[in-house]
Symmetry: C2
Subunit: 133 residues, 2 copies
């Protein structure tokens, strides 16, 4: 399989696949013409990467996860720990975003949104937080 086929199959951009090779996550063989030649194992690794990335794991986490996957003597605790740490980061991000959301939606609600210049959003940002009550 050429890169385009893999890209279509997995929904991963060819650029991304080449990048993954660059950083050593996959090592597809080459055809005589120099094209990358993907076998089932490569496609499988890429699919693994795609799913791990979709769960928000960093590239380095993915590298670790793939190493664990290939290590038949792994302890599932190692995988779980990695996942739990990632889960913690996700939770932290969600909290941050929810804080922003809470503040910002209050401000948005309190803004008339008409032709007049008075705006509690700008008031708040400027430090004259006499807007919310």
């Amino acid at each position: 399989m050429n890169i385009g086929d893999v890209s279509t199959r997995l929904g991963l951009p060819a650029k991304t696949i080449r990048y993954y090779e660059d950083i050593g996550l996959i090592k597809p063989l080459r055809s005589a013409n120099g094209y990358r030649s993907f076998v089932a194992a490569d496609v499988h690794r890429l699919a693994f990467l795609g799913r791990a990335r979709a769960l928000g794991f960093s590239i380095e986490d993915c590298r670790t996860l793939m190493a664990l996957y290939r290590d038949e003597s792994r302890a599932s605790a190692d995988v779980k720990d990695l996942a739990k740490e990632h889960l913690g980061k996700i939770e932290a991000k969600i909290r941050d975003l929810q804080m922003m959301h809470a503040t910002l939606s209050e401000l948005v609600e309190s803004c008339a949104g008409d032709n007049r210049p008075d705006c509690p959003i700008l008031s708040d940002l400027s430090g004259l937080s006499a807007a919310i009550g």
Copy 2:
């Protein structure tokens, strides 16, 4: 005021303040020795920036917000629209993260996390999603 004082006051790294000058968000004067010399208006602008960034607005959004703030003939609708669009992006990110969180926490819960190699997290990533049921 020198950059260090402003940095301490606002809790913004000096590097960040220099960066904001680089990209034209502030234009502090210079002392005879070449040091940046911040007056109250500069500090105010930086504080504005800090708050807008803390709400997750992009630098370009901040630029627009500051322009609106200085434009006394602005329409609050313009500010509100910008904020609402940003709110939408925040909501999208929260949803994405919550999806990740849901999937990942299920996987984490179903993983024994002991010395054995069997791991539903890896099974799921590998595509053999025979783990969750």
